[in-house]
């Protein structure tokens, strides 16, 4: 009975995972397909991986995407972390107002955020890399704040005060005492921002103007003409890199934690 139930649960989860990973499997297979058509299998090839590196357009879009992702994530992390520390020190009223504003880009539909930014940017500057970067920073900051805030809340303020009491200046105390404690939240915020930025299509689409292309907008533009197989190769490569990074990160961060739970419960 219990085994039957277990088998059922495993089957169900396997189906859900199959559903989530099926398209990825298709795309990976396509990246090795020796045919420009996406419906026929023309044999195994590594050709697209080779040609990828001579495709100026794709490489340019990749450069833009990475630049945008890293740049906006870094800027958002700095502004957002300082923001979170500052917001937390605010009085109830101010805190609530600022946090509501913070939630707007997350709750609002991407299309509305994108259009609002576009209408605003056309009054300020020509649409281009700068406007997309500003847009990405805008929607990334809330993710950083929301990652850092819980860490700040659980941070024991008395250790900051203890550091000050022992003669540390506020800057020293921040970098040596507070920062290490909220570091994991900041890191999570940075990666979240990076993910969001690299995955974004809608807001980029509305704010980019002509001439700038990220991988997403480039793919969108090619839907009707057909996607270049090099793009499948690039996506597979990116996916593989992230897969390895996350796997290593996971393995490192969780070492030695497995048994704590059991021991805790047995007492």
């Amino acid at each position: 009975m219990v085994r039957l139930k277990n088998a059922f649960m495993k089957c169900y989860l396997a189906l859900i995972l199959l559903f989530l990973y099926a398209p990825i499997f298709v795309l990976v297979v396509l990246s090795f397909n020796d045919s420009r058509s996406r419906v026929t299998w023309g044999g195994f090839t590594l050709r697209w991986y080779g040609e990828l590196f001579s495709n100026r357009q794709i490489l340019e879009a990749l450069r833009t995407t990475l630049l945008l992702g890293l740049g906006s994530a870094a800027a958002a992390t700095v502004i957002g972390t300082l923001g979170a520390v500052g917001i937390q020190a605010m009085r109830r009223r101010g805190y609530q107002i600022v946090m509501s504003l913070t939630n707007i880009p997350i709750l609002n539909a991407d299309i509305v955020t994108g259009i609002a930014l576009m209408l605003w940017f056309v009054r300020l500057m020509p649409l281009g890399f700068g406007s997309v970067l500003a847009a990405h920073i805008t929607f990334n900051i809330p993710y950083v704040i929301l990652s850092v805030m819980p860490k700040l809340k659980s941070l024991n303020l008395s250790i900051y005060e203890a550091a000050r009491d022992l003669g540390a200046g506020s800057v020293y105390a921040f970098f040596h005492i507070v920062l290490p404690q909220i570091g994991s939240g900041i890191l999570a915020g940075f990666f979240m921002a990076l993910t969001m930025s690299m995955d974004d299509f809608v807001i980029t689409y509305f704010t980019k103007g002509a001439g700038v292309n990220t991988l997403s907008t480039m793919i969108y533009g090619e839907i009707r003409k057909g996607i270049k197989p090099e793009m499948y190769a690039l996506s597979t490569l990116l996916f593989a890199v992230i897969f390895v990074i996350l796997l290593v990160f996971n393995a490192l961060s969780g070492r030695g934690k497995n048994t704590d739970d059991v021991i805790e419960r047995s007492r």
Partner: protein, 358 residues
């Protein structure tokens, strides 16, 4: 082993390991009806695991649990006529006080009127009348604990299990709650099995104390017998502060400590047997220099409210004494102990001896 008519619960040869680490080792224990029994020991001694086995949350690797003579080792916890008050209260956060208390009764499909009566009675019992509609998360720790007790009691269990229920409360509240628990126990008249690492709490409340260490019962008995006649150094050290010194039993009623022959009342030890000698601080009397068995120098005097705690360095050992009058630090004094205040124990066989070396 025969099941005693009077006993409500019996654990027989219980063994349990977690991750290859033995937590309970062949533990057997009988618990009488309407007893207030306390499992006492340091953290990791297996007392909570014992309680969880009785509650049905943990299955023993070997051994059996008998409830009124019936084997309930494999009975699911929801089917046992036993309820638990958890250390962290574990009130359901999505329910108010009333819904929390009614939880078990609703599952038993009791009538509305019956449930209402029971809630009223239980809240009165724990001195929280009128709290029916309160949100549990808004209550103080002490109030939450009272609700947790009420929630368990309304189900009319034969045994109430209490897993360090006062551990999270501050000292004053703790003392109040100890008295409350004793009163509640008297009113409902059921068996209480209480787990704590606080020896004072155990001594105050229990009819019977089971001192545990490393998964083994060290001693079982009334508060008085455990305090006055600890059977080994672990128990002596765990129950209250003591002077515990190695000695040699020269003959019946004479023990040699640090080279001094001292009369005592213990008999039946082997000749020249190495023993542990326990002298409670309140039994160690400070005398003028030259009187008593040892002479030494006062190293510290601390005022403790009702008495002074005096440390005296004599014969290479720092003695602790409690007295209502205080000598001066640095003064030379004599130390005396009456024969019937000396407790002689066999050396413990296990590695428990390690524990008393600090």
């Amino acid at each position: 082993m025969e099941t005693n008519e009077k006993d409500i619960l019996e654990l027989r040869n219980i063994t349990k390991s977690f991750d290859g680490k033995k937590v309970l080792d062949d533990l057997s224990l009988s618990i009488g009806r309407n007893e207030f029994i306390t499992l006492l020991g340091p953290s990791g001694c297996g007392k909570s695991t014992t309680l969880r086995i009785i509650g049905g949350f943990v299955r023993p690797d070997a051994g059996s649990v008998f409830f009124e003579g019936k084997d309930i080792t494999n009975l699911a916890s929801e089917k046992r006529n036993v309820n638990t008050v958890f250390q962290k209260y574990s009130l359901f956060p999505h329910m108010n006080v009333e819904e929390n208390i009614a939880f078990g009764l609703k599952l038993k499909k009791k009538s509305k009127a019956y449930i209402q009566d029971k809630i009223k009675y239980a809240l009165k019992l724990v001195n929280l009348e009128g709290y029916e509609k309160r949100n549990t998360t808004a209550l103080s720790g002490g109030q939450q604990q009272r609700i947790a007790i009420a929630r368990a009691i309304v189900n009319e269990p034969e045994i109430l299990l209490l897993d360090e229920p006062l551990g999270a409360l501050d000292l004053k509240l703790r003392h109040d709650m100890q008295q409350e628990l004793i009163r509640i126990k008297k009113e409902v008249g059921i068996t209480f099995i209480y787990v704590t690492h606080d020896q004072e709490e155990a001594l105050t409340m229990s009819d019977k104390i089971v001192v545990m260490n490393k998964g083994i019962i060290q001693q079982m008995g009334t508060s008085k017998s455990i305090y006055d006649e600890p059977q080994n150094a672990f128990v002596a050290d765990f129950i209250g502060e003591s002077n515990i010194i190695g000695g040699i039993m020269l003959q019946d009623r004479v023990v040699e400590i640090l080279g001094v022959k001292i009369p005592c009342v213990d008999e039946g030890f082997a000749e020249r047997e190495a023993v542990d000698v326990v002298i409670r601080p309140e039994d160690l009397e400070i005398k003028p220099e030259g009187e008593g068995f040892f002479t030494g120098q006062v190293t510290s005097v601390l005022f403790k409210g009702a008495y002074y705690e005096i440390k005296v360095y004599a014969e290479g050992y720092e003695w602790v004494s409690q007295s209502v009058s205080a000598p001066e630090v640095g003064a030379r004094v004599g130390l005396y102990v009456a024969p019937d205040n000396i407790q002689i124990m066999h050396k413990p066989k296990s590695e428990d001896a390690e524990m008393i070396k600090e």
